[in-house]
């Protein structure tokens, strides 16, 4: 099941409707596909390409640029340990080393049970809680080795289900209510402002022409 389900397809069309250019919906649709499957499957990239009117290669090109979009399978929990300067000074590298040991995998790999993927991260703006990490983009820290073990155990035991949804779920692309500003209004506003800009430029050109002729 890697193409959009019926429900997800409805949401995909809602997202598409938000943009005057269909291609603009590429990234939101990638997030949506990731929410459904945990990562971007080939089938979903093909489907997204169809939906936005481009080629799968371009969807892959766009998606592979962003670290938050995964084109390879990842675990239910993607653990990103920050090794940027503040965390580094507070033992981020050591924490990452410990995480490798605890999970039994190298950085970048996924545990055999498909529960955890370990990554090292650049700054996640959680410096006041260094050394910090994020699990599916939810922040934790400062963490000791024991704290890390406890976190992993809690995640494995399902104690943090409510706080940390499976990888891919982003509240931002989940729209509970209809679009606040109707699309027609956006289009109208766009047209008006374009017209104003046109007038402004015409006026400017007229003044310049006048100055030029003087």
């Amino acid at each position: 099941m890697s193409r959009f389900t019926k429900e997800m397809e409805t949401r995909a069309f809602e997202l598409l409707a938000l943009y005057p250019e269909k291609r603009s919906a590429t990234i939101p649709l990638c997030h949506l596909a990731q929410e459904q499957n945990g990562y971007l499957t080939e089938e979903s990239m093909v489907q997204i390409a169809d939906l936005v009117g481009t080629t799968p290669a371009e969807v892959l090109g766009a998606a592979s640029f962003y670290d938050m979009l995964h084109t390879e399978p990842v675990g239910k929990y993607v653990v990103g340990v920050c090794t940027n300067i503040a965390c580094l000074l507070q033992g981020g590298e050591e924490l990452l080393g410990h995480a490798e040991e605890k999970l039994g995998i190298a950085t970048g790999a996924t545990t055999d049970d498909g529960m955890f993927t370990l990554e090292d991260m650049e700054c996640i703006a959680h410096c006041d809680h260094a050394p910090a990490l994020q699990v599916n983009y939810r922040f934790f820290g400062p963490l000791t080795n024991d704290g890390f073990d406890a976190l992993v155990d809690d995640l494995s035991a399902g104690k943090l289900e409510s706080e940390v949804p499976p990888h891919g779920t982003l509240s931002r692309v989940q729209r509970k209510h209809p679009i606040a500003v109707p699309l027609e209004e956006i289009v109208r506003h766009r047209r008006d402002s374009d017209a104003k800009e046109g007038e402004r430029l015409a006026a400017k050109a007229a003044t310049e022409a006048k100055e030029g002729s003087n």
Binding site: M45, T55, A57, L60
Partner: protein
Amino acid sequence: MTDSEKKLKLTVNGKEVESAPGEMLIAAAEKAGVLIPRFCYHPRLEPVGVCRMCLVEVKGPRGFTLQPACYISVSDGMEVVTDSEKAKKAQDGVLEFLLANHPLDCPVCDKGGECPLQDQTLTFGPSESRFVEEKRHFEKPIAISKLVYLDRERCIQCDRCTRFAADIAGEALIDFEGRGGALHITTFPDKPFASYFSGNTAQICPVGALTTTPYRFKARPWDLEQVESTCVSCAVGCQMVVQSSENEIVRYLGIDSEAVNQSWLCDKGRFGFESVSSAERIPSPYFNEPSGMVETGWSQALDAIAKALKSAEPESVALIGGSHMANEDIYAWVKLTKGVIGTDSIDAQLDDGLDPKIVALSDRATIQEATQAKLLILMAGDLREELPILYLRIRSAAKKAGLKILEISLSETSLSNEAEVSLRYFPGYAEELVNGLFGAEVDPQFFAGDLQAARALVSSVDPASVVVVGARENLADSSLDPERAIAKLLDSLVGSKFLSGLRRGNVNGAIDMGMVPGLVPGRGQLQDGNEALKAKWKTLPRKVGRNSREILESALRGEIKVLFLVGADLISDFSDSALAEKALGNIPMVVGIDSLSNRTTSYCSVVLPATAFAERHGSTTNIEGRVSTLGKKLVGFSLSRPEWMIAVELAAYMGEDLGFESLHDIWGEIQEVSQLHRGLSIAALGAPGAKEGIVVPLSASKVQISNRRVLDPIATPGITSVGVSGPPSSSAAIPGEGDPVLSESTYSRQRSKLLELLAHDDRAKAGPEADNFALVVSKRLYDHGVEVMSAKHLSELVVPSKGRVSPKGWERIGLNGSGLTRLQGNGASVELELVVDPSLLDGVVKVEFDGALGEVSKLFGVENSTSRVKMEKV
């Protein structure tokens, strides 16, 4: 004064330079003789500014700062320094970075010796790198299609190939994957770079990252010889160079000709060269005896043919084919058949084109005029399949310049997305639809699309600024319906122009030279007489002859005694192969003149070997009527001879003298007898400024000799580094200088209504029927024709063709899941895989011409009405 005419002045390295608004600094500097190094910049691609190689100092409010010259447009009073210490240091630094990950495997790289990275490193770069770290590694090389290999280690991420694929070809099948140090070109898994234009990416790659399969490890650039020529794989007439090594062609590269191909080639043209050295080449003349092939000498073969001609009545002699020949060959054969033997039954078209009168007697447009028209009406099927580079030109005009297109077709085409309005019609109803366009009532069951919008579109523009592209879209229907529709369009839109969509090599030249029934050289009609011809020709046919279908039909009645097949593989290419097969068996003397063995040569009584492309000089004529030259780079294969020479020799064996001994003689006579070509001397054709060809008649080509873009070694690497017999590497042709002046031609077209020249279409017509589908048969680029099949790498691209049917038809046949269907019609039966095509009208089935290896053509029964087939699920 419009914006584009405005001139502004800037200073480059202290020198004043004139430029126009919108021009990029790098181009303006180049015109002034200042070469700024570059990789990502390509004159035919949108600027992107990613390689940073072109950093120069530009004066701004804060003094001189480094800016990429390919990404800033010129402004009045701009001050630029390209050779300061600061600029040089920046360029040094960029090159050092570009080389940080470059493998420097130049000794084993095909690009070595013609590589912009090599050349510019030598000219602008540091001699040493401070980079000691391990370079990045990728598996190398990987095949991204059957024709193109990608070496990601060599890639410098200039974005040229991806911009070409996305913007020019419109098929973004390759793109960058990843980011920063991990950035590399990729295709999507299981979706190879299967574009008709993929070879162009290798041509413009500034390093050896993209290489083409047929050229890999074939030659070193400094060992190549080259000659400029014109591609004849279709009728667009793309300008290119032929490069060879040791009497074997190794590659073609596109030349940047503003008027025609703007540096691009399609893959069929680019890789078709392999057929020249194919094992299918015919080495010597031979007879097909009942016992088998008997090799013979030229004299015995020609003697036998001359004897057969002696005993044959003029009307019983016919010729089919010749559209691949040079103009001079065509003229020689026209003179032999019409002027010596006295038969008018010669036809360069294989019943897949249009009435030649439409092409010869309409006002013709150039490609430039078509792309700049106020409205372009397409009635030509899918141009991407038939005239690929014309498709690129029209597509980019629509995308970039807002060219308005009205498409009239039987199904969706590659240009449907760019069309303002697309109209569909039921086979046989093109004329009705065109009448409807000009106000007549139409019966909605035969049409789809917004006719009101189309009417509004047509009436909103000045008819004189309309260009109509016309060709035959459906081979399974008589040509009369589309012909009348095109004629009606051209007649009704007074002053509109016609761009021929006839696609076979030099078929447009063949029409200009009279290699069709009813016409004589110079787009004149046989019945109008021609004094110049009477002076040069021994005789003239007494009446208008038969076209290729009529020739074969009369052969069935035993009326044809001698038939010449000149490069005509009737069994594969004639729209009705069953008719061709029967007819050929009923002609005592069939003379095959061809360079390649094909399915038809075994039906010939005698076969004569002809030289192939690049083995002979000459000229060719494209869809616009543009005459351009063919280059000779190879020694003719074995005993093969150019076709004009065969005509001259054969005449001699008949005791006649055609009156010429060289191509110069022939061209001289063409100028004398053809008003169309008058004033166009060989010297003018060979002039440096005329390399992209000259449109005839001369009075019609306002820009008589346009100045071709200087061959650009960084835009098209390899094109100038091979200087052995090509033009000098920086031959900045000065307009007019050294070009012989063209005299004004005296050609004038007799204006008459085209529609009146055509027969009435009084066939009984039928609309959609429940179980009797109307057959639409169209051409595709890679078919099982001998040209493709004898080129090794192209032949691998031919896939089994599929049929298309409307969703309703799909349901009616009872298909679900698999589309395997049996088509029955005209006493034949063919099995094909069908797919659903919502753009088709109900009751229509569309099949590619060589579906099931040519079996499809057996389903035709064209004479009376549209071919019909019954279909059932298999």
